[in-house]
């Protein structure tokens, strides 16, 4: 344990270099640069709002905020787990030649995506202001799901990173799973529609939705946490982190023979 911490301290500069590199390179060649972090969710929000307020005939003024809260959390979840999954293979050349603690690569992907995610929350803030969302004391609680989310993502990311070294087709498979998760997260529909049809359990077991619901409770509805969802999200995150670390640790010496 002590050894592990000392090793981490030695390579923490590498971690920050990798995070900066991720963010820098992502926007280097685009004209608007980091602004895309804000534009992209804003534009998808507009599209989804227009489409779904037509389909469901919704007049709800805060519908764009509703969509954004779900959509922002989902895109961080999707992007970061995908990036973490690919990180070992992507850095294979490096791993083959020099010793570095390997977990640093998925960790850097999860953190760099988290930073762009936090920046993109500005969009939510501005849209809420424009649509005159009433601030409540519960809003401060929004921090809680925002802190659980990266833990969950790191756990799942480590599991995927380990498996993806041995099974390349996982990258495609995970894309499909992400799509399923998107449709099961009530991003652009009301959960009551699903519950009414007897499929409420899908939302209950979806770990991402357990975070979205509490994010919405605190940000939009001015309500306390849904305690059941909160408990579930914490248990799921801690469990996936433990499994992820264990799997990664057990298999990391075999990575080099497979990349």
């Amino acid at each position: 344990m002590k050894q592990a911490i000392r090793n981490f301290m030695k390579y923490r500069y590498l971690l920050s270099e990798l995070i900066i590199k991720d963010i820098k390179l992502k926007y280097r060649r685009s004209y608007l640069g980091i602004l895309w972090t804000l534009l992209e969710p804003l534009l998808t929000m507009l599209v989804l709002t227009v489409v779904f307020s037509q389909i469901y005939n919704r007049q709800d003024k805060l519908f764009p905020v509703y969509i954004l809260t779900g959509r922002l959390l989902y895109s961080y979840f999707g992007n970061a787990t995908k990036a973490a999954m690919k990180s070992i293979r992507k850095n294979g050349q490096m791993i083959k030649k020099v010793y570095v603690p390997k977990y640093i690569y998925p960790l850097a992907s999860v953190i760099s995506q988290y930073i762009t995610f936090l920046i993109s929350l500005i969009v939510l803030f501005v849209v809420s202001l424009v649509l005159k969302l009433q601030p409540t004391k519960y809003m401060i609680g929004a921090i809680v799901p925002l802190l659980i989310l990266p833990v969950m993502v790191l756990g799942i990311g480590l599991i995927l990173a380990t498996l993806a070294v041995f099974f390349r087709d996982l990258e495609y498979l995970w894309g499909v799973v992400l799509m399923i998760i998107m449709y099961c997260s009530a991003i652009f529909y009301e959960p009551s529609r699903v519950v009414k049809n007897g499929f409420g359990w899908i939302l209950d077991i979806n770990p991402l939705y357990s975070l979205i619901i509490n994010f919405r409770n605190t940000v939009i509805y001015g309500q306390p946490f849904d305690m059941q969802a909160l408990t579930y999200s914490i248990v799921f995150s801690v469990a996936s982190l433990i499994i992820g670390v264990w799997m990664f640790y057990k298999n990391q010496d075999k990575f080099i023979l497979n990349i």
Binding site: K21, M94, K96, K97, V98, F167
Partner: protein, 245 residues
């Protein structure tokens, strides 16, 4: 003297060569069910034991596929041995396949920081040595150009300059004298020789026996993964020359 810095103890390294490479889930499940998942073990190294003392310069001789590179990678800590243990003391600088860790979209200057971080240097240290690295690499204004536009020689020069900016206790050389043009080669050989003076321990892989004689004082010979001889460089190179005739 008499201070052991590298201790290789009964080391074996097995690679699994499956008859067909299974790298996707679909095939894995089908083959698992059909029980067709068989592996063939291949021992790249078997029961290798030797010690290197501080200040020794050890040449590693052997034909292609004898396990030389595998041995270096094990000592550098990139891979873990299947059997046995390897103990090393001090900072190791591996000059193996220089510049392989660069990010192509990054400029040379940015890569100095990135590659330095990969080698475990601190930020302050790289800042301090930045000028020295750029000067030694002779890249001039190209340092602000993305590495993808570099020639392979330029990449190797930059890699060499970054890796040798520290004072290593153990230096691992895998035929890196073939870096860049003739002029830079001379310069890099001089740089490495200057490191020898500081009593650095060297592991050197080469097919060029003359070069090994010039640089090393000891040598070992590997054949098909086993250590068949070790001792003074003169005796061993004579032995090896006879063997390959």
């Amino acid at each position: 003297m008499g201070n052991t810095v590298i201790k290789v103890d009964h080391v074996g390294m097995e690679f699994r060569l499956s008859s067909e490479k299974v790298d996707n889930l679909k095939e894995f499940i089908i083959k698992k069910i059909k029980r067709q998942l068989t592996y063939e073990g291949f021992w790249a190294l078997k029961d290798v034991t030797f010690e290197v003392e501080e200040g020794d310069r050890v040449g590693i001789l052997g034909l292609n596929g004898a396990g030389k590179s595998t041995l270096l990678k094990l000592i550098a800590g990139v891979m873990k041995p299947t059997e046995g243990t390897i103990k090393t003391k001090g900072r190791i600088v591996p000059l193996i396949e220089l510049g392989a860790g660069f990010d192509n979209q990054y400029t040379g200057a940015e890569n100095i920081y990135l590659y330095g971080a990969v080698l475990g240097y601190s930020k302050e240290f790289i800042k301090e040595k930045y000028k020295e690295i750029v000067e030694f690499s002779e890249l001039g204004d190209f340092i602000h150009v993305p590495v993808k536009n570099y020639s392979s020689g330029m990449k190797a020069r930059l890699g060499f300059s970054i890796a040798t900016v520290v004072d290593p206790e153990i230096l691992i050389l895998d035929e890196v004298f073939a870096v860049g043009d003739a002029k830079f080669r001379k310069k890099s050989e001089k740089k490495i020789k200057s490191m020898f003076k500081d009593g650095v321990t060297v592991l050197f892989v080469s097919h060029n026996i003359e070069q090994v004689k010039r640089i090393c004082n000891k040598a070992i010979v590997l054949e098909k993964g086993t250590l068949i001889a070790s001792g003074n460089v003169e005796e061993i190179s004579e032995f090896y020359e006879k063997k390959i005739k």
